[in-house]
């Protein structure tokens, strides 16, 4: 059972994600957070249990955005090794550069079709992100076709 965290303030996107996860042929358990603040609380609570396999992190969220979450995660001894995959609508260079520098493992621009969404999640779940080192910058953006 893979323990997955998703932080996204958009209800549609969360629904898409849950539906897509059902299509993935892997046993998973998902913990949803509606914003960054909730994510950090959830991480605090669940850290005693097996740590998350991966955190899917949206960037633009109210209260606490993805950048702040990433910063806190990478600076917390208990959390710093958890793989983080940025999951954003934007593919702005600024966002990509910043999150890579902050120590995210991969960057995915939210796909524009449901099939690609399923493929993206599948891809992330099969990647060996922990404890292997982070990819080089040129492989940081995970593009699924």
């Amino acid at each position: 059972m893979k323990n997955i965290f998703l932080a996204d303030d958009d209800a549609d996107d969360r629904d898409f994600f849950i539906d897509a996860l059902k299509e993935v042929n892997l046993p998973t358990d998902i913990t949803l957070s509606n914003n960054g603040l909730e994510l950090m609380k959830n991480l605090e609570m669940l850290i005693q249990h097996p740590p998350p396999h991966v955190i899917f992190l949206d960037l633009n969220m109210p209260f606490k955005d993805g950048f702040q979450c990433l910063e806190e995660i990478r600076n917390a001894p208990k959390l710093k090794d958890i793989p983080v995959v940025i999951f954003s609508t934007s593919a702005s260079d600024v966002y990509i550069d910043k999150t890579y520098e902050q120590g995210a493992n991969y960057y995915i621009q939210k796909p524009s079709s449901f099939k690609l969404l399923v493929k993206s999640i599948e891809k992330v779940l099969t990647l060996d992100m922990w404890p292997s080192p982070r990819p080089q910058k040129e492989n940081y953006i995970l593009s699924i076709t």
Partner: protein, 374 residues
Amino acid sequence: MIRIQLAKALRSLAFLNTEKKRRAAELIIANKELIIQNEEKEKRAAELVVANKELIVQNKEKENRAAELIIANKELAFQNEEKEKRAAELVIANKELAFQNEEKEKRASELIIANKELAFQSDLREKRATELIIANKELESFTYISSHDLQEPLRKIQIFSTRLIDDESQNLSEKGKSYVLGMRDASTRMQSLIRDLLGYSRTTTSERKFVITDLNSVIELVKKDFTETITAKNAKIKVVGQCDVQVIPFQFHQLIQNIIGNALKFSKPDLAPLIIVKSEIIKSSDVNSDKKLPAEEYCHITITDNGIGFDPQFKDHIFELFKRLHDKDKIPGTGIGLAIVKKIVENHNGLITASSEIDKGSSFDIYIPSTLPL
């Protein structure tokens, strides 16, 4: 009678004698007188001779003096003339100085005006700079809006429509399915529009850091971007010459990518695309342009293809935003690619021109300063 006559004669003789004696005495006196007078006259003559001599000397003296005076006079006349000349010169010099003074005053007042003008312009520029900063911020927020806020609802339309087709098609009539497909195509097109517009605005807002770049290395990267298309169309890209250019790397990459991308896109269906990229350093005087060129040397890049070309009457219009020369059903596109190209060339203080004829391929001439813009 004789006696009387004699006596008379005697008496007369005596008288005559006495008379003669008296006359002699008188003559003696007169003589003496004359001698004295003569002496006097001689004395006077001698005196006159002396006086005459004196006068001659004085005369000579006076003549000498007169000659000296004439010389002195001439000298004075000359000096006078000189002084008059000098005075006239001084008058002219004075007038000249007065004129110069006036000119200087005029110039000074002009400078004061110019100074005021400059101060005003400076103020204007500052104002303009502030306006530009504000406009830039607005553009940045536009970039953000188009990169995120606009893309998000669009992506959802795309996902919902694909899910309708994929999961719910059994509940849709054929008509219903075609509507959904139309919706999906429109949203795909909107996605490329947003992506390209974002690229266009990025050429304005992004950082401009110039790096010395080998043009041919950029072409190699662009070839990699198009590997699939190049293989599928059996295209050839020939590189002739070499240029080092000072460019904003990602912008320059996009510039070459857009032009080569167009050359591949607008190729003839029955002819393998042949794209020739030629580059050389040329003097600014050899650049074919009416505009004043800021740099001394330019890298002249010519990108020629053997594609479908375009009507030469559109050679300037093709760089306009959203300008398309083809039906989008036949050849897809947003009409932004060459607008981005133009903007990037302008960001590099360069020039770009296009030439073509229908069915005879097209050619793009790009001039980029080979040294850093000041």
